[in-house]
Symmetry: C3
Subunit: 123 residues, 3 copies
């Protein structure tokens, strides 16, 4: 396995690395908008901040967002799911991943409305 | 990566495809009983509807339910877990997968009692 | 796929095996402190019990804890997350995995404060 941190994301602040690669799969840690300007924003604004981080990981790996094979989306409310879906469709374009979405009881900061974990196919 | 939709499941209604394949792994999107006759049924009835969809994906991939490597089971109540376990044992037969089960705060429709995401080993 | 149970963990009590291997990835079922002396302990004590099980699986597979590629951590409270992070950092040493952490609404026993699912890179 190869452990990877990406300078564009800032240092990990906890017991994890940004991503681990094995046999062409890149497992990303759960990403949130924490520490970004969207930290107190809507679920869609937070999703934008999260996929901006995924895009910067993808660039570092010399792949595109179409390398996203699977996402698991944890939200704290289902109220703005319609808007979130629109945002995700725009971000993904035609390269849709496999996806799950569930409402959890909480994320590590009360500001956070969404956490996304992703598996990328990098080779 | 290869993105896959299965006619038997109906068109995806959101920012996802039914499944994505990479290096012999097929990552399925989270499946529910939404839109099936079991949509308002018990957790076991909903589980039957979900695994019927997984079975139809497996058939399309020319594998059996024994190709299920891992499932993550999200339930909204733990009240009928005993019955759910019986149902799953009957569905799996002797080919048990690795599995996690947690109670979440909600799924995208209040009717839903269970969402299952699965990883299949297809080659 | 290869289904695996480990005598050190006791027989699985439900519709699952301890782990399934495919193409060098070992998917572990969600592990908890249920049935261990830590069953009613703090989240950190329960985490110790869980990673002791993962360590025994790793030994059986002739790898170390540095084979852990990804963990998903489900907790029922965020109150003692600081202590949990310290515990995990000590367990992992320098070999940090990719990781997600969410608070769920419940685990299958009210005693349980944490469930961990892990993916190990075994070859």
């Amino acid at each position: 396995v190869e452990r990877k941190n990406y300078p564009a994301l800032g240092d990990p602040v906890g017991p994890y690395v940004h991503a681990v690669e094995h046999h062409g799969f890149l497992f990303l840690s759960g990403l949130t908008a924490f520490g970004s300007p969207a930290q107190k924003g809507s679920v869609s604004e937070q999703a934008e901040a999260i996929f901006s981080q995924i895009a910067s990981i993808a660039r570092a790996e010399r792949v595109g967002l179409d390398a996203i094979a699977k996402v698991t989306i944890f939200v704290t409310s289902l109220d703005d799911i319609g808007a979130l879906r629109e945002t995700l469709l725009r971000i993904y374009g035609t390269a849709l991943p496999a996806s799950s979405l569930v409402r959890v009881a909480g994320l590590f900061s009360p500001d956070l409305k969404i956490e996304v974990e992703a598996v990328l196919a990098v080779s």
